[in-house]
């Protein structure tokens, strides 16, 4: 009798357990997706959405909402805590540094980001200690010169922007664009100054200002202005290379003989985020070899994952960056000087 009872209990437990498992697996509706907000330029978003966002959303049952805008617009929103406050923010390193100084970012535990070790060591080592644990680089932005090859002879120097055939056809970034301070420092280097001493750069740009058509602030402006024939030479960052080469007008991009400069674009987690676990997962996902390679092949960002290999002629193959020995624009120096550079630029170059 007792044995029968025991068997009945076991059968009942098995039936209930199996039923519970079936209910949990097949009948219970999935939990609603969590929402995370990411602040990004929005440049190349269609490709990013396909390559990163959608796979990440389905893998982790999460909904990602984009807050797009220029670097300075998004930085202002971050400092004023404008709603919705992002969980993750993408910024150039010198803005990441300023955000860190204002206590707007959380200190990262880099051991939780398994793909961090795959970032080129030479790049990781360059990042100042004050910044290293508050942002993770995801792409490199080095400065080069783009010009119309059908209307001008070959260029090789940064000073070629001052050439007679480019008069009235120069496009410059505004100082608050990511490439703005880089263009100022590069001009200073070409004219005998340095990162700290930009006065020669200002003097050279004052001489050039009548030949500058306009100043760009948005990532896509160089493509639009080259395509419309408004400009014929411009300092551009690496993310512009692929779109510029695909225009209907012939545009080539060169490294000037004077060298080049680079900054790192970083991903950070915003202080106060309620989705820190997901933010870590997103950063790790973004740095993975597969995602970095696909983003590069789609012409979105140059990879900083050392395991990614690209054809030698691919615009996002960053090996030439190391051959060219570009200077890293230290974000601490840049952040310290930015306000006075902005004021001087607005009155002396754009004014």
């Amino acid at each position: 009798m007792q044995k029968k009872l025991l068997a009945a209990v076991i059968v009942a437990i098995v039936i209930v357990g199996a039923g519970y498992w079936y209910y949990q697996t097949y009948l219970l509706p999935p939990p609603p997706p969590r929402t995370i907000y990411i602040s990004h330029w929005g440049f190349g978003w269609d490709q990013i959405k396909k390559i990163v966002i959608e796979p990440f959303e389905s893998k982790y049952n999460v909904k990602i909402v984009l807050i797009s805008g220029t670097t300075s617009e998004r930085f202002t929103k971050l400092t004023t805590k404008a709603e919705p406050v992002p969980d993750v923010i993408f910024l150039p390193d010198y803005y990441t540094y300023q955000a860190q100084q204002k206590g707007l970012l959380i200190k990262l535990d880099l051991s939780k980001i398994s793909n961090y070790e795959k970032v080129y060591k030479v790049l990781r080592d360059q990042i100042p200690k004050s910044l290293a644990e508050y942002g993770v680089p995801f792409t490199i932005q080095d400065l080069a010169l783009a010009y119309r090859t059908d209307r001008h002879s070959k260029i090789s120097s940064w000073k070629d922007m001052w050439r007679d055939d480019f008069k009235g056809k120069v496009l410059m970034p505004t100082i608050t664009a990511t490439s703005g301070p880089m263009a100022l420092v590069m001009t200073s280097l070409a004219y005998g100054g340095s990162i700290e001493d930009v006065e020669p750069g200002f003097k050279a740009l004052e001489a050039l200002k009548k030949d500058i058509v306009t100043f760009y602030s948005r990532s896509s402006d160089p493509q639009t202005l080259f395509e419309r024939g408004e400009v014929e030479i411009a300092p551009v960052l690496r993310y512009n290379w692929a779109p510029l080469k695909n225009l209907s007008v012939p545009v080539d991009i060169i490294y000037p003989v004077e060298g080049s400069l680079y900054v790192l674009n970083m991903i950070s987690v915003v202080n106060g985020s309620k989705n820190i676990d997901l933010a870590y997962k997103l950063i790790d996902f973004w740095l993975s070899t597969e995602i970095q390679k696909n983003l590069a092949l789609a012409g979105v960002d140059a990879p900083i994952n050392s395991e990614v290999s690209l054809p030698s002629d691919h615009p996002f193959n960053i090996s030439p960056v190391f051959n060219n020995k570009p200077l890293y624009l230290n974000p601490e120096v840049l952040a310290k000087n930015l306000k006075s550079w902005v004021d001087a630029w607005k009155s002396r170059v754009e004014g």
Partner: protein, 272 residues
Amino acid sequence: MEVKSGRVKVYLLPLPSLIFILVFLLLSLLYVIFYTPNFLQTFIETIAKEDFFYVFLRTIRVGLIVVFGATLLAYPLTYYVNSSSSSVKTFFKIIVFLPLMVNPIVRSYGWIIILGREGLINTLLSYLNLTVEPLRLLYTEFAMELGLLELFFPFMFIPLLSSMENLSNEVIMAAKSLGASGLRVFFNIIFPLTLKGYLTGLTVILAGCASAYVTPTLLGGFRNRTLSMLLYEYIEIRFDWGAATATALVILFTVIAVNLFFTKLGDYLVKR
């Protein structure tokens, strides 16, 4: 007693709009002023900058040029429309208001197509062998003024047309029959009698030019900044809320001063 309560009710009529303006404009402005530490000092430092002075002058200059352009276009047009049939009037009202019905970005890109280096004007000039190199028309103050003129022209057209409608045609006929030339008729009769409407249009255009942002940015570029572009720059780029508040106040006081000046001028000239 009944008369008194009627008066009270009449006084209540402007109350909703008064509350609206006080809460949404003045209170928010006062809040920002008190929120800014050492506001007076910030205000003085901001407006004392050489850069600010040039931007202020440009804003006024652009406003006056747009007013001048609107005057040249609006007087002949409103005179013609006023003396036309009602269907012609309706047609011109729709045409003049058309730019206001188009998104400012689309409207500005229309100008980019016309004024660009490879745009309509430059292509035509080159085709006629009138230019060797394309002219630089875009990203200039001129392009900005054209865009603003297109945008604000209706605000000159409408008050001027209603002033024209009140103008008696017999007075003009009388002047002409007494031998007055066309110019004399305009300066001695039409202009003084439409002055109120003209000054209304002028004030609205100047105020609009001081606060327009999209059109000056897209057509003038960063080099040709106006006060509203500077205001945006202080808020979004330089993160300087104090200077932004000072700039906003300068725009507001300039508009109020322009309004008061031209209202008084109109009253004075009409009395004469």
